[in-house]
């Protein structure tokens, strides 16, 4: 028998040691905790605030940890159980007010030396830890339409500036048609517009007197990418404002965004905050026309008419020009009017907005200014299409109304307040939306999965139970059927499990889901296949009268190509499943793939090493194998 290479022993030991080390943190279950962070970007939790929190928790009789500062200026208190965690959050959310965000979190209990080498427990999917999963569809048509309208305006302006007369500029999908009275005008506009609109390609003359511009696919894609990224950023800000620990906000495909909020139980609030596209505009109230003019509904030039919500939707005429918009808001906090106790939002503007605000208000002291509230709502509506089928399409409606008209008392700068809000809840939501920024395009929720935390715990238990039972059944079977060689296979199987858990914990993006656990369980059953193949071969060789050591060699050598086949087919399937599946099913593909690789390693290299240790070292070759 050839000597078994020593480096394989070392490799085996090294892999087991590293994976074992990184699998260790999973033995330390996360502790329920409440995380407190400042509502201001970059703000920190002050010592006085944290002392106050600890006092309140003591008064409420809640058992708690000493509290600790964590990354990003947040502060965290641990609790012994979920119940006191939930009670603590309710208590603190009420008492800390708007300056701090109170969120449920899980604090790692991994010992410091393990954290120092970057070891952490596996990420658990939402089906195991509870939470809400949303898939949001960005309304691309709205994005395109908005931009196309802007371009149409640009064309008109350019033609006007050059003194070229045109009949009409029409927008048709991703196409702009500019009509002229005669072909001379069209000719003179051609070069001008071609240079002014690099994002478009000029259609080869379908007819004279008309120029047709088609939006380039690259420009369209850029526009859509920008809208989706902008939305992702805004959603990310909102989710952070909601106080969710470890949220996921990711782009998926061309026009979708996945939002995962672990631990969130109030899906309704999350849904409301995510989908809202509320923003504000500050405009001057136009006083050149009498109120009767407003009642006609036809706006005089340069103005627009909007209802004043708190005054029975009385129409108000506003100037078209905006002094400032919600996009220029740098900070917004809910507060209360010190005089009458009504809710208000304190707003800070950026420098551009503040400059304009200052200039306009200084010239208009004594005149009224209005705050215009703009909100786009998108709903899925049923519609019958041309084939007579019912389909659901997103329909966006925009509400605009005046929430407040106030006389400008003095020159306003970068900071002022907005009143006229219905309730503290509305004020707080408006403040949140202004802080987080508006969405570049309306979104609709097209998929939602909410898993309660108790169901998540049940799923973990079910997964672990079936894994333990499956494992024990297989271990017993292998021991009874293959005796000492069965023990080798069993040790390899346990090592295999260790490697899977270690690798899953090592890969930062890998997430364990319930189907993922099923993948591990299935690998446990299929992993011994390699050993079964090898051992059956060894038995056959022994029956043929081959000497034990040679039988071992033959068994491992002859079974190898079959084992490889078996695993390649399943690996192909795992890759397909990963690319086609979503969320939890991808978790299955991941564990299946890792499980196959590690089981090949342990079942071939691992058992061989053990066989060598027992049957290979002695001076005399073994007379019999226990197989």
């Amino acid at each position: 028998m050839t000597r078994y290479p020593r480096w394989k022993f070392f490799l085996l030991m090294a892999v087991l040691f590293v994976c074992g080390l990184y699998a260790l943190p999973n033995l330390f279950p996360d502790a329920p905790a409440v995380q407190i962070s400042s509502a201001k970007a970059g703000g920190v939790v002050s010592d006085s605030a944290s002392q106050r929190v600890l006092r309140q928790l003591d008064q409420a009789g809640l058992e708690h940890g000493p509290g600790e500062h964590i990354d990003g200026g947040s502060w965290l208190v641990r609790f012994s159980d979920n119940d006191s965690q939930l009670r603590a959050r309710e208590l603190l959310a009420g008492s800390l007010g708007d300056d701090y965000v109170v969120a449920l979190n899980l604090a790692p209990t991994t010992p410091g030396w393990l954290r120092a080498i970057g070891a952490s427990p596996m990420n658990l999917g939402l089906d195991l830890r509870g939470g809400v999963h949303f898939l949001l569809q960005v309304d691309m048509d709205a994005v395109v339409n908005q931009r196309m309208e802007a371009w149409a305006g640009q064309i008109k302006l350019a033609l006007k500036n050059e003194g070229i007369r045109y009949r009409d500029v029409q927008q048709d999908g991703q196409q702009l048609r500019v009509q002229f009275a005669n072909s001379e005008d069209a000719d003179s506009a051609r070069t001008l517009l071609r240079n002014a609109l690099p994002e478009f390609s000029l259609d080869s003359e379908p007819e004279q007197r008309v120029l047709v511009f088609n939006l380039n696919p690259t420009a369209l894609k850029e526009m859509q990418d920008y809208a989706v990224d902008q939305n992702r950023t805004a959603l990310n800000n909102r989710v952070n404002e909601l106080g969710v620990a470890e949220p996921v906000v990711q782009r998926q495909g061309a026009d979708r965004i996945v939002v995962q909020l672990p631990g969130v139980q109030d899906a309704a609030q999350a849904r409301r905050i995510l989908g809202r596209t509320a923003t504000l505009e500050f405009r001057l109230v136009n006083q050149d026309y009498p109120a009767s003019r407003a009642a006609t509904g036809v706006a005089p030039p340069g103005t627009e008419i909007f209802p004043f919500r708190s005054q029975g939707d009385r129409p108000v005429i506003l100037d078209r020009a905006k002094i400032a918009t919600g996009d220029e808001v740098t900070n917004a906090q809910m507060g209360f009017d010190p005089q009458n106790g009504t809710p208000q939002v304190n707003v800070s503007l950026d420098s551009a907005g503040a400059r304009r605000m200052q200039r306009v208000t200084s010239q208009n002291v004594g005149n009224p200014m209005a705050v215009l509230f703009i909100e786009t709502k998108t709903e899925m509506r049923s519609r019958t299409n041309e084939n007579g089928e019912t389909e659901q399409v997103p329909v966006s409606t925009t509400d605009r109304y005046v929430i407040n008209v106030a006389t400008i008392q003095d020159t306003l700068g970068s900071r002022f307040r907005i009143t006229g809000l219905d309730s503290p809840a509305e004020a707080s939501e408006l403040a949140l939306l202004l802080r987080a920024g508006s969405l570049a395009a309306p979104v609709t929720i097209i998929e939602e999965r909410t898993i309660g935390p108790s169901l998540g715990a049940e799923n973990i238990e079910a997964g672990l139970k079936s894994m333990a039972l499956g494992m024990v059944l297989v271990l017993v079977f292998m021991l009874v059927w293959y005796k000492v060689f069965g023990i080798f296979a069993n040790v390899a199987l346990v090592g295999n499990l260790l490697i899977i858990v270690g690798i899953m914990s090592l890969i930062p993006g890998a997430t364990l889901t319930l189907p993922g656990i099923a993948g591990i369980v299935l690998t446990v059953g299929m992993a011994v296949d390699a050993n079964v193949l090898i051992y059956e071969r060894i038995r056959e060789e022994l029956k043929k009268g081959v000497r034990p050591r040679q039988a071992i060699d033959e068994g491992y050598a002859k079974a190898f190509s079959t084992i490889l086949d078996a695993n390649i087919t399943t690996m192909i399937v795992a890759v397909i499943l990963f690319s086609a599946g979503t969320g939890s099913v991808q978790g299955f593909a991941v564990t299946l793939f890792i499980g196959i690789l590690s089981s090949m390693f342990t079942a071939i290299v691992g058992t061989r090493a053990m066989v060598e240790m027992v049957y290979g070292r002695g001076a005399r070759p073994p007379a019999k194998l226990s197989i």
């Binding site: 097209i446 909410t450 369980v521 299935l522 059953g525 193949l533 192909i572 939890s584």
Partner: protein, 308 residues
């Protein structure tokens, strides 16, 4: 050769009976799939599903009567694991925005049924459902296609055809069973079917490999004897591997909870069928194609003299 096999069962004596059985099952399955299709889960159809738990046993009829007179009369109410758990599934409604169904249904359930709490709400928009359905069908075809390519590289024609037919046989019968029983076919079941594709092919390859090896290595010329010997030699491996896999699936079936039930059902049936097909379908196909020793003689390089 037969002296080394641990078993000496005459598998091929009744191969015609099993050939008939397989043909009937496959045709029956295709017929079922064509006429009544699969009971597709919410992942593929879109709609809303709610899982709720009561403090005590929840009576299904109570839930149904609670939903009467609400927009959710069409809902499917079924038990979900324990007697305290129920699942309510509502198809996409025409007169209600799809993302509103979950919250409103939760309200109805929790207000009309005291003690019942909603644990889980899932809503899949109709367009997402359509896409998942298309993607899943594509994944299934892609998996089968790639297996075909793999087998084509791995085997001579006759063995390749035999293993692929065995693979299709297994997948069609499992899908047929899901059609017959109206078990819900969702994403996790699809994952199970794909896992089955890998498993079934592997099982057939092990058997086919041995048959090929024996055709090359023995003096025996009777294909029937060679194949029967090969089946006996690989029998304990075939049974042992299937058995250990079945053991873990049984554990999943009983303890994996409701989510994993359909997954383990699909694989339990699939592996039983796959084990059978690796023995009978592969060999029947080989006989049908009249495999013999000639197929395994390594061809000598041809002279170019057959060119004019």
């Amino acid at each position: 050769m037969s002296n080394k096999a641990p078993f000496s069962i005459n598998f091929l004596g009744i191969r015609r009976v099993f050939a008939a059985l397989s043909i009937i099952l496959v045709i029956g399955s295709i017929g079922l799939l064509a006429t009544q299709g699969l009971n597709l889960g919410m992942d593929f159809t879109g709609g809303t599903s709610v899982v709720a738990k009561g403090e005590n046993e929840v009576i299904i009829d109570d839930v149904r009567s609670a939903l009467e007179g609400t927009p959710f009369e069409e809902a499917t109410v079924v038990r979900y694991g324990s007697p305290r758990d129920i699942s309510i599934r509502v198809p996409t409604l025409n007169d209600m925005p799809a993302d509103q169904v979950g919250p409103r249904l939760t309200e109805v359930v929790e207000s009309k049924l005291p003690g019942v709490k909603v644990l889980q709400v899932e809503f899949v928009g109709p367009q997402v459902g359509d896409e998942l359905r298309d993607e899943s069908g594509l994944a299934l075809l892609m998996a089968l296609g790639l297996m075909l390519v793999y087998v084509w590289f791995r085997f001579t024609n006759k063995f390749g055809v035999a293993t692929v037919v065995a693979l299709l046989h297994d997948v069609i019968i499992v899908l047929g069973l899901f059609s017959l029983t109206r078990w819900t076919f969702d994403l996790t079941v699809l994952a199970a079917v794909l896992a089955l594709i890998g498993y079934s092919l592997n099982d057939s390859i092990v058997v086919a490999d041995r048959i090929r090896e024996n055709f090359r290595d023995t003096r025996e010329t009777d294909p029937e004897k060679i194949i029967n010997g090969s089946l006996n030699e690989t029998l304990s491996r075939t049974i042992n591997t299937s058995f250990t896999t079945l053991l873990v699936l049984i554990a999943l079936f009983f303890f994996g909870g409701e989510v994993m039930r359909a997954f383990s059902e699909a694989l339990l049936v699939g592996i039983a069928v796959g084990t059978y097909s690796s023995i009978y379908v592969v060999t029947n196909m080989l006989f049908l194609m009249k495999v013999d020793k000639q197929d395994f003689i390594i061809p000598e390089k041809k002279e170019v003299d057959d060119m004019p």
